[in-house]
Amino acid sequence: MTKTVTLPKEDVRTETALGGPWRVVVLNDPVNLMSYVVLVFRKVFGFDDQTARRRMLEVHEQGRSVVWRGLREKAEAYVFTLQQWHLTAVLEPDEAN
């Protein structure tokens, strides 16, 4: 006979947050050059020139662009690298997925 176990709510939420999808978002800043942002996107994510330019224009015109989605650990590594390049990058839970 299996006994019903009630899991603490906080533990369940933590597990979901770490294991679920996250997104790396780059925010606009008035300082970094467009060509610099394109280069960083190509270098960090391996985007081709066209994709990198499209993402850069999203950042410039819409104020933000989601540049990567996936597990938290890798997303953190991308945010770190982007911050090392002095871009404004944040990590958000990917609630759309």
Binding site: A17, N32, L33, Y36, H86, L87
Partner: protein, 153 residues
């Protein structure tokens, strides 16, 4: 390895180096831009910021190192695949700090468009803005000529 040499007018650039040195001092202890993670535990946050700051210090040292005795003798600086990336980042860090400090009065729209009468700016702001533009020019030159070295590195 591809290497480029950029000739600069020492009398024009020398005063801008003072601006870079002033900002560099601030960048030894403070990061140029917003950093961090949501919900990061304090240990991770500390190590995260510490590693970024250490990298930033190396970048700034590399930038200042460009303008040593040789620069004042020859009036030239050189870039190649070994220093292009760190110099690019250092320029970004100094420009971000200029925005937060010496150029705070200009406003983001002005910084983004560059549309202003430089001659009407107060002396300190004038010097800081010329430095801001100078660093952007260095970045453009590096990106134009060494992008493949950076992407391949």
């Amino acid at each position: 390895m591809k290497r480029i040499e950029v000739k600069l007018a020492v009398p024009i650039v020398a005063p801008l180096l003072d601006v870079i040195r002033e900002q560099a001092a601030g960048l030894r202890d403070a990061l140029a831009g917003p950093t961090g993670l949501p919900d990061a535990d304090p240990d991770l946050g500390e190590s995260w910021g510490g590693e970024l700051l250490e990298a930033q210090r190396s970048e700034i040292d590399a930038l200042l190192g460009l303008f040593g005795e040789e620069f004042f003798r020859e009036g030239a600086v050189s870039f190649d695949g070994d220093n292009a990336e760190v110099i690019l980042r250092a320029c970004a860090a100094v420009r971000l700090r200029l925005r937060e400090h010496a150029l705070k009065t200009l406003g983001d729209d002005t910084l983004e468009t560059g549309e202003l009468e430089i001659s009407r700016l107060p002396r300190d702001v004038n010097r800081a803005f010329r430095c801001y533009v100078f660093l952007a020019t260095l970045q453009e030159v590096i990106i134009q000529h060494l992008d493949e070295s950076i992407l391949g590195g």
